[in-house]
Amino acid sequence: MAIIDRKYLFDKGWKSAAPIALLLPGFLLYLLIAVGPSLATAVYSFTDATGIRGIPVSWIGFENYDEFLFIGAASRDNIAALVRTIYFCFFVTTIQFGFGLLLAVLLNRKLKGTKFFRTLFFLPVILGVAIQGLMWKLFLLPRGGPVAEFASLFGWTSEFLGGQPRQAFAWVIVVQIWANAGITMVIFLAGMQTIPERLYESARIDGAGGWQLFRHVTWPLLTPAVNTNLLLNIIGSLQAWQLFLVLIGYRPGTQVLGYLVFAEGFGQVSGEVTTAFRQGYAAAASIGLFILVLVIALVTNVFVSRREEKFLG
């Protein structure tokens, strides 16, 4: 095979195709189950595909998009879900960013026990939605649960996840942040470890206090970590929906776009799924979500690279 680089010194002749031959299984699998389907989402969004094998599929142009955005009560729900997705993203990103930064600043202070705290705050990240969700369902038990007991000290009662849609939604935000703040924290911590100690030393000699050290040393030099976290949080929270499934199910007034794609494409009940659902329509919805993510990520990216220029020149 001629495509081999001339610096390649292993076997000559037909055996020199070994790198390509051994690479192919992995690469073809990648095209088959990841890249291909991903691109095909756009194709499916113009069809009336169902989830049933053998039923003919036909082209229907922009009908799915038209219906998703403009036709009937369902489209109003869809728009509401879109707006809700943006709310979810806004609250999760800002709070998780701030919370993660706070934890990182505290744990970067060489106190005793930082290792314990770091492990504790990172722990939920590796648990997965099923465990995360069930843990919080129990923690938020409306009758006699720990949070309920605490709230009742202030004379406040609530059904939490089973309550008003707004309340349930807010609690999913809390759990989402709880589940992922650990990643934000470790990325900030990794960024802080690249800041040389001598910068702090010299700033201290100049008489800088804690806040000034943070404002003029940590924050600007943390720019790469700040930007990464911002982008990761935004993209992650726009696409997140699995905790909704475990915590509250598909309830009117709480859906986000990601959940809508799943519900339209695969059925609405978490336990029993039939395959007779509208996959073309769901594909259109997921292209909608993709465009939303793309637009918001690009805007953020412009903002973020300006920041990078300003601080790191």
């Binding site: 990648y30 499916y44 465990i131 923690f139 970590a225």
Partner: protein, 287 residues
């Protein structure tokens, strides 16, 4: 590690500053408050798993009267638990093994630039992270391959990991090229070279990819809802959700079941935390 240690000895040498203790108490109290949110749900789970149902209804937050393992036994025997657990183990081990092996074989020639277009191929792995979700066509694919509701179909979904490729490529680039050359001079074959010499050298990266990938499969819930309808094939996460819908408010055995599922993750985490964290922050700081 060494930099951290150096930094802390430096901190000791520095003359104690006025007002140093007060912020430390402040830090601890904020950390303490935050950890309530993290210890709380865990503690509640633990206490519930040791209670009887009447005990739980009487006082959900109190201490259990005795620490017996009845709930764990019940959870284990009630809902096909051993079979679910076995399925999870099979899916995780098989898919992770295939994924890591094929990923190394993809990453090595890319990292070395041994063929034309290797740069573009790497780009294709990077942009995958930004492509639209593949959920719907993937389903159509599995359906039309006749692999819906089968072990093979479910495993097929977990055979690639673009982030893993990126981590491996970065690590392989740090292995000097001269090694390839001298091994080739000595008549070592390509396959043997990659498996016997490269793999041990990039062990940390392989550990990171393995652990991250395995955790992802072990925790997966949604794909099991989409692709598996036969409960003999359910992984344990799905089993847990079925368990919840059947036993609803019977929290004590459910909590025990959650704890059983959590234990392997906890152990893995405590021993391999370094690899997990480095995988999740890979490339993040370089920007």
């Amino acid at each position: 590690m060494t930099t951290a240690r150096q930094a802390s000895t430096q901190a000791k040498d520095r003359p104690r500053r006025r007002g140093f203790r007060r912020p430390r108490i402040g830090s601890y109290s904020i950390l303490g408050l935050c950890s309530i949110l993290y210890i709380g749900p865990l503690l509640m789970l633990l206490l519930t798993a040791f209670k009887t149902l009447p005990e739980f209804f009487r006082d959900p937050t109190g201490m259990p009267e005795s620490f017996g393992f009845e709930n764990f036994v019940e959870a284990w025997s009630l809902a096909k638990f051993p079979s679910y657990l076995m399925n999870s183990v099979i899916y995780t081990v098989v898919a992770t093994t295939i994924c890591v092996l094929t990923s190394v074989l993809v990453a090595f020639p890319i990292a070395r630039g041994y063929f034309k277009g290797s740069k573009q191929m790497l780009t294709l792995y990077v942009i995958a992270l930004f492509l639209p979700p593949a959920l719907i066509p993937q389903f159509q694919l599995i359906l039309n391959l006749g692999l819906f509701n089968s072990r093979a179909g479910y495993i097929l979904l977990f055979l690639v990991n673009p982030i893993g490729i990126i981590i491996l490529v970065n690590q392989i680039k740090a292995v000097p090229r001269e090694l390839d050359e001298s091994a080739a001079m000595d008549g070592c074959g390509y396959y043997r070279f990659v498996l016997k010499i490269i793999v041990p050298l990039i062990r940390p990266a392989i550990a990171t990819v393995t652990v991250l990938h395995a955790i992802g499969i072990w925790n997966e819930l949604v794909l099991s809802i989409i692709y598996l309808t036969n409960d003999d094939l359910f992984p344990i996460t799905r089993g847990l959700i079925v368990f919840e819908s059947v036993y609803g408010s019977n929290w004590p055995p459910l909590a025990a079941a959650v704890l059983i599922l959590m234990t392997p993750m906890l152990l893995l985490f405590l021993f391999l935390q370094r690899y997990i964290v480095s995988g999740l922050t890979a490339g993040a700081v370089k920007g």
